[in-house]
């Protein structure tokens, strides 16, 4: 450094330093790479956990000696109806008994029907005595079989895919083997339909206003800042807003009372309509920001061309800006809508139904959705509920995947134009 000689002189200190600096550099490069790999591994683990639980062996204990239910030495086929009902009440869970009564009061059924219930639910109740995840089922099959043979001699072990067409098409049930996500899937779709109908026009309108009309003044700056802030509000807060406004304050509207359409099973505002409106408010900020970005990406020359030909502001927006921003708007909209599909917390807060077996048939029905179903099944302690929760997760992920694929397809189609 002392005299400028026209060539770079490396001080001895610099040279002695170099190998260690290079070592450090390559060490950290490995660390950075490793961190990225960890991210990938976690994603893989997540999918692995779900798939692993969604398939596997299940042991079903389905035979109980009918003689063990004999009352005072009288075999069940010779018992009268009342005693049979008592046998049912004694041997099935309370929830199951209530469900049977709801389907058709047992006392009003014929003897043959009641006897059939005894055979189906008491003698051959199909009790799950154990489930094993996929990998274990494949690698330890012999041991599992031996174990079951020893503990439950009458049980049968079979390989089950928890997710199958029957799982998607059957309603919720207290019997894990019969349970499905039909009700939840329909609930999710209806709620999202309402969300789209409400949020899309308002969201696109707000984005157009902010990008095309709003001048830089105090009010418009406030609106923009406010939208950015709302995008960061935890979703559960929106649930509380929905509970206070839609469920409670607007109950006559959301329960359908003012239309005279009240669902006999719901006398309150905890309905599909409330859920849809809550999610609409929840997705709006993100939707607006996404659409704004799409509109901002439209080159200014297009607008100026239109103005130059005498177009009014709205003509310019409608005929030039929107068609050009359409791919971006669609992508942004679908991305924010898929966020709404996965939302759970706000819907729990506004009061999703814990157990419904019938299809929702109007905006004023009680509701449950796929994520809520997953939450409820995951919260159960028994292992088999985790299996159907995993199956429901696969259904949810497939729904989201198909939505995102649609987004990409739509985008490609419009961009070709």
């Amino acid at each position: 450094m002392s005299t400028p000689t026209g060539r770079i002189r490396l001080t001895p200190h610099f040279e002695s330093n170099l190998p260690s600096r290079n070592r450090k550099a390559s060490l950290w490069q490995v660390l950075f790479r490793l961190s990225t790999t960890i991210g990938m591994i976690v994603l893989a683990l997540l999918l692995y956990t779900v798939v692993n639980q969604a398939f596997g062996l299940v042991a079903i204990d389905n035979k109980v000696d009918p003689a063990s239910f004999a009352v005072d030495g009288v075999q069940i086929e010779e018992l009268d109806q009342e005693t049979l009902i008592a046998v049912i009440e004694e041997n099935v869970s309370k929830g199951k008994f209530r469900q049977l009564e709801r389907e058709q009061p047992l006392a009003e059924r014929t003897w043959e029907e009641v006897y059939q219930v005894v055979i189906d639910d008491v003698v051959e109740p199909k009790d799950i005595v154990g489930t094993w995840p996929l990998v274990e089922s494949l690698t330890r099959k012999e041991e599992i079989l031996a174990e079951v043979e020893q503990e439950h001699p009458q049980a049968t072990v079979e390989f089950t895919s928890w997710i199958d067409p029957q799982f998607v098409t059957s309603p919720q049930s207290s019997d894990v083997l019969e349970a499905g996500v039909r009700t939840a899937l329909l609930g999710s779709l209806l709620i999202i339909a309402i969300t789209i109908v409400v949020a899309l026009p308002i969201g696109i309108g707000a984005a157009i206003y902010l990008e095309e009309y709003a001048s830089d003044n105090w009010l418009n700056r406030t609106i923009q800042t406010n939208i950015n802030n709302l995008a960061g509000v935890p979703s559960i807060i929106y649930g509380m807003l929905g509970l206070a406004i839609f469920v409670r304050m607007l109950e006559p509207l959301t329960s359908g009372a003012i239309f005279g359409l009240t669902d006999p099973t719901t006398a309150n505002g905890r309905t599909i309509l409330s859920a849809g409106l809550t999610l609409a408010i929840l997705v709006l900020p993100v939707l607006i920001i996404n659409v704004q970005e799409a509109i901002r990406a439209v080159p200014n020359s297009l607008r100026e061309g239109s103005y130059g030909l005498g177009g009014t502001q709205w003509q310019t927006i409608w005929h030039h800006v929107l068609p050009n921003a359409m791919p971006g708007i669609l992508t942004g909209a679908i991305l924010s809508i898929s966020r709404a599909i996965g939302e759970t917390a706000p819907l729990v807060v506004i009061g999703a139904a814990t157990y419904i077996t019938f299809d929702p048939d109007s905006p004023f029905s009680k509701f449950t959705t796929l994520p809520i179903q997953i939450y409820q099944w995951t919260s159960r302690a028994q292992g088999e509920y985790h299996n159907i929760a995993a199956a429901a997760i696969l259904v949810l992920l497939m729904l989201l995947l198909s939505l995102n694929a649609t987004a990409i397809l739509l985008r490609n189609r419009y961009s070709r134009k």
């Binding site: 206003y209 009014t312 759970t344 729990v348 807060v349």
Partner: protein, 307 residues
């Protein structure tokens, strides 16, 4: 100067009334967000005020009490706050270094091809619903922790498992915000460092990261805010009862987890339970809003420096 248009001017148009209507509607759409905010603030404050007016509640006790037992009339929010802070701290402990490392890798090291494959993967991670992460925490992370530390040390419901999975959840967010900040650093700065003989690591750590520090700080703050507001993971994996403890392997209940559990049951209006949820909600709203405003301030400063 152009003369004022006259009726004789063929270019003069009558103002289209529709345009005003449309403009009015669009303005309403924009202003709707203000209504949302007002609605949130009004509803939360209204119910929270009812809660604090209740003779059973003492404002000082609310912020300093270490017991939250509505049945026993004890309303100290601290157990819920500490649980929230512990899960958030664990989450940030995971997400910050990892997210920063991934962002540095993506912006400074990765080839275009690697970046084009990795970024979609992160987007996929970001798009997975949180309830799925909750399932992952309960069925994978908790058994995993229990097999490492022992079943008597780690409870079935514990803050560590929830915190770790929240960390994974916010990793994509932190990564993408940090990467944006790093990529925004002008190329000339890097080239200057290389010209002085700096290694790639030295350029990244001593030049690019300090230049992007405000963007990184914003990512950090937004990450904290997301972690505090995260609900389903803690509702599933962290526990089912307020517990004043600093042991991450014990179960506890966060503010969000408490709101979900209480409102999930049959909650009647105008009870102290109902009102207390809104008081917790208001606290949550104020905390997250504060953090978001801080991060926006930081970002604004960052923009002024580089544009």
């Amino acid at each position: 100067m152009i003369s004022r248009t006259t009726e004789a001017n063929p270019l003069h148009r009558r103002p289209r009334r529709g345009e005003f209507l449309i403009r009015g509607f669009l303005f309403f759409c924009g202003a709707f967000s203000i209504l949302t905010t007002l609605g949130i603030v009004y509803e939360l404050s209204k119910e929270a005020l009812l809660f604090f007016r209740n003779p059973a509640v003492n404002l000082l006790e609310f912020f300093t009490g270490t017991k939250w037992q509505p049945q026993a009339g004890a309303f100290g929010v601290l157990p819920l706050v500490t649980a929230t802070l512990i899960t958030t701290a664990i989450a940030m402990l995971i997400a910050l270094p990892l997210g920063l490392a991934v962002a540095i890798y993506l912006s400074e090291y990765a080839s275009t091809k690697a970046r084009n494959t990795l970024k979609p993967v992160l987007e996929v991670l970001a798009g997975i619903p949180t309830v799925v992460y909750g399932y992952f925490a309960l069925t994978f992370m908790t058994p995993f922790l229990r097999s490492i530390f022992g079943r008597d040390v780690v409870d079935i419901y514990n803050m560590a498992s929830g915190g770790l999975v929240i960390g994974i959840l916010i990793l994509p967010l932190i990564t993408s915000m940090s990467e944006d900040a790093l990529s925004a650093v002008p190329r000339a700065l890097r080239e200057g460092a290389y010209a002085l003989g700096a290694t790639k690591l030295e350029t990244a750590v001593k030049v690019v990261v300090p230049a992007a520090i405000s963007g990184l700080a914003a990512a950090f703050v937004v990450g904290i805010s997301r972690a505090i507001g995260e609900t389903m993971i803690v509702a599933i994996a962290v526990g089912a009862g307020p517990n004043f403890t600093f042991n991450p392997f014990k179960g506890a209940e966060t503010m969000t987890g408490h709101i979900v559990r209480i409102s999930g049951g049959d909650l009647s209006y105008d009870t102290i339970d109902y009102d207390s949820l809104f008081a917790i909600g208001l606290l949550l709203f104020v905390i997250t809003l504060g953090l978001n405003i801080i991060s926006q301030r930081i970002v604004r400063r960052f923009r002024e420096t580089y544009e």
